[in-house]
Amino acid sequence: MSKLYTFLKYFFITFWTVFVVAPFLWAVSTSFKDFQSVNSKVTYIPWLDFEPTLEGWRVLIKSPAKGGVDIVEPYFNSIFVTCTASLISIVLGTLAAYALSRFTFKAGFVRNNDITFFFISQRIMPPIVLSIPFFIFLSTIGLLDSLLGLVVVYIVLLMPIAVWIMVDFFNRVPKELDETALIDGCNPYQAFYKVVLPNSIPGLIVAGMFCIIFGWIDFFFAFILTFTEVQLLPVKVVALNSSITPWWSLSASALVSVAPLIIVAFIVERYLSKGNLSGALK
């Protein structure tokens, strides 16, 4: 019984690992191919199956005028939009989460839980529902096809995540800590930034990582709300898909785009192993 269990366990782990890694291996292999080795028959291993070239990678930094793809600018656009929106969401979301965790709000039938639900419920909204009015809204105020416009939209996407994680985190920080700070002569703002904030770093890191993940991977808003002036990474890569399948540059650009966030997986794992994350996630 237990031998069978161990066998199944390792079989399943191996199977899943292969499943997770397979598309990456395929992409790495494809990124070194040329037209011939993609279109003749299915090839896998460089040198053995096909002669590798660096063409797929070289195209990435060439300017479009010379037949390149130029993902450098979209790359920085993506970083800028993601980081700015995450930062604003974390600041505003953390303040709101602190208020919701510590103080009592009453307005008619509305209580703390209802306000928290209002924040989190914004995630229910499918992007498509918001994208049409946002399209018209942003074109009215002249922010269509601009980085600033995207930041505004991404705040709606990310603040609910920050509030969700931080409310839960603050609920686990003992209330007596703030009370001691107040008794020791801090006003509520000082109590927050001198005492509560320095002790909330694990929560802030987790919230920050989640905001960065969900900002970085968004495609739809960037797709609808930008055209030529500003392009974000996912839109740029997907645009390659529709043209006549240059699979090599497609794979190379895909790998470059997903690479930075893989570091986040290591950070998350570190926090998980240290046991810090369990407090910061439900």
Partner: protein
């Protein structure tokens, strides 16, 4: 503790969010009562004509809605079962524990739409490795993307690959935060691993499970990027979800008014059904 300062903490975030959202929501409701399309791009008032059309004469929307329900419920169940199994396996000491944990987390860090582009080449019917390797085993080429039934499963495979890690993360964080005492008690009573799971681990994990399932259902109901790139809703309408249908009506056929009607109806249905699902799950999983 109750100070007037509390508003200073809450209001910036609350009002920024309301400020950004108030226009889109009011605008959508107003737009849904208009006949805005590419011929008459203006905010006229046609009452509830659009809503009548939706409820009496648009089977395609309801089909896309049921397809979405099928896809999201199936993927979330699969993600929950697989995610829980994976979390259980790397919860306690095993060899290369940290390596496997990182590997299991990686897919959720990748951009769905970009990975789907890769998956598309992966499942390519003549030039992709899946059919090639299966061909080596003597299996006839499978129409991963152009068969109406199989295409649904291809979407499910990609979604499960992408989002099982999220479930895994929430459940593993939950497992790691469980108190040790109930497990010690079970060990002293000599409970078998199976009984330990059924009577100790699973009940303790119930609240976390509900949270994780609800969050995933919310996210899965927005399934769009994958479909957009992988199949574009096709073949025919075989993988068309509600979001994608609204997208076609609104931004391809420019029936803005009608698309707003669809959006608003869809949003109301989502909020109601997710609330009901949350209530039902809570009842099912937490037995007094």
């Amino acid at each position: 503790m109750n100070f007037k300062h509390k508003f200073v903490f809450l209001f910036p975030g609350l009002f920024v969010l309301i400020g950004i959202l108030i226009f889109p929501i009011i605008f959508t409701i107003r737009l849904s009562l208009s006949g805005w399309n590419s011929y008459t791009p203006e905010m006229n008032f046609i009452g509830i004509t659009n809503y009548i059309r939706l409820f009496t004469d648009d089977p395609r929307f309801w089909e896309s809605f049921f397809r979405l329900s099928f896809l999201s419920v199936t993927t979330v169940i699969l993600q929950y079962v697989i995610g829980f199994a994976l979390a259980m396996m790397v919860w306690r000491e095993i060899k290369f524990k940290r390596f496997f944990r990182v590997i299991f987390l990686v897919p959720m860090m990748t951009t769905p739409v970009i990975m789907t582009v890769i998956w598309r080449t992966f499942f390519h019917e003549s030039l992709g490795p899946v059919n090639d390797l299966l061909g080596g085993l003597g299996v006839k080429p499978i129409l991963w993307l152009s068969d109406p039934v199989i295409a649904k499963f291809t979407v499910i495979i990609v979604e499960v690959w992408q989002w099982t890690p999220f479930m895994f993360l929430l459940l593993l964080a939950g497992l790691l935060s469980l108190p040790k005492e109930p497990f010690l008690a079970a060990a002293i009573d000599g409970a078998s691993p199976f009984r330990k799971f059924v009577y100790v681990t699973f009940p303790l994990m119930a609240p976390i499970s509900i949270g994780a399932i609800i969050i995933r259902l919310i996210e899965a109901s927005k399934i769009m990027d994958t479909v957009f790139v992988l199949t574009s809703g096709g073949p025919g309408t075989a993988t068309e979800t509600s979001s994608f249908y609204i997208y076609i009506k609104g931004l391809r056929e420019f029936q803005m008014g009608y698309a707003a009607t669809l959006s608003f109806t869809y949003l109301v249905i989502m909020i109601i059904s997710l609330t009901i699902i949350a209530k039902v799950l809570t009842k099912l999983m937490i037995k007094e």
